[in-house]
Symmetry: C2
Subunit: 198 residues, 2 copies
DNA sequence: TCACCTTGTTAATGAGCGTTAACGCATTTC
DNA sequence: GAAATGCGTTAACGCTCATTAACAAGGTGA
């Protein structure tokens, strides 16, 4: 059986470093030589693992969108029959975990989508849309007086709020992960509450 | 005397189109020929008006940060002695106006900062910092129990919320500007309220 | 009328960069 | 032990693209 913490494969190393570099300086702003150097091989050696630079970005973005959606579906399934408040809390918690633990990916997620080939972009958009709709349903269950377009706008805005962490500061400048997570959570709930008020 | 609505100068046309294109496809993703074509001249003709592509981006970003800061200072001055609630409302209103009316600029604002030359980047960062600190002061006046780091995080998060509009949809898909503005305003206030709660 | 500045144009230059070619060397497989 | 395969390397190619050169034409002022 596979151990729970395998040594990261080359592909995974590359993806991780590529994500960091893309987030820092943009897809067009980083060269393949840099990505190679970041994992200790140089330039064209990457082509043993990926078809090209585009392929790395595509795999990253599809992976992100897929993870978010899968995680949310999982949380919805586990929280079957509980209060809608708790379901929303669970979604928020999941998104915060992601935003705090995978900052580069969150940055890429809404910044480099347009650099994808048509087919990949459509796939990512579809996954994102499903994720949003899933939130919208939960939000409207909790605030039924909220019309659907408004609910969708509210969800997007809360994403903006939660995804703001990358802009916050250098790695260590936050007041502690738990504190930050709690603050973000309170604010997200407060924003929805205010959106649902008439 | 100059009429109130002068014909836009060439420089202004160029800046406007460049902002739109940069926001759509990223600084590195758009070529000078495209920018030229967007204003009816071609490629190198731009160099009669700007020192280079970098200079356009620099002027845009410095302009944005400056406008935001100047506007906020103005609002603070006008709202001297009124309730802190009203002051915060005024800041929020100003930021929303900006986010809704100058979407491309808002997008550039937190996306392409790293493409600037050192000196320009420092200037923009300084303007941004002043803008944030100004909000932090107002927020802490309204919620004194909020510690300064938390207040700063909260302000950044609300910026994320307010700046989410560009991601929302194609131009016309929003439920009307006034409605959207009101929703964003309520959510921002709700988020701060929740942040200030113990 | 004649210089001159403004604002364009197209052609050339030169750097950067993604990608492919050609080759080397462990390690595995039969 | 030989062949194949995985995973690197460096060198070369070709394209894109910002920038500069060289030149043109319209308007303005002496």
């Amino acid at each position: 059986m596979a151990t729970r913490t395998d040594a990261p494969t080359r592909r995974e190393q590359i993806l991780k470093e590529a994500a960091r570099l893309f987030a820092e300086r943009g897809f067009h702003g980083v060269g393949v030589d840099e990505i190679g150097a970041a994992v200790g091989i140089s330039g064209p050696g990457l082509y043993r693992h990926f078809a090209g630079k585009d392929a790395m970005l595509a795999e990253l973005l599809v992976g992100i969108s897929g993870s978010l959606l899968t995680g949310a579906k999982q949380r919805l399934k586990e929280a079957d029959g509980v209060a809608p408040e708790a379901v929303l809390d669970s979604l928020i918690e999941g998104h915060i975990d992601f935003a705090l633990d995978d900052r580069p990916l969150i940055t890429l997620h809404d910044r480099e989508l347009d650099r994808l080939r048509d087919t990949d972009r459509k796939l990512v958009r579809q996954l994102q849309r499903q994720y949003v709709e899933l939130w919208v349903e939960v939000v409207r269950r909790l605030y039924p007086e909220l019309a659907e377009p408004a609910a969708r706008s509210a969800v997007h805005s809360v994403f903006g709020l939660l995804n703001s962490t990358p802009h916050l500061a250098r790695p260590g400048a936050l007041p502690g992960r738990a504190t930050t997570a709690a603050l973000l959570h309170r604010m997200a709930r407060g924003a929805f509450e205010a959106a649902g008020a008439r």
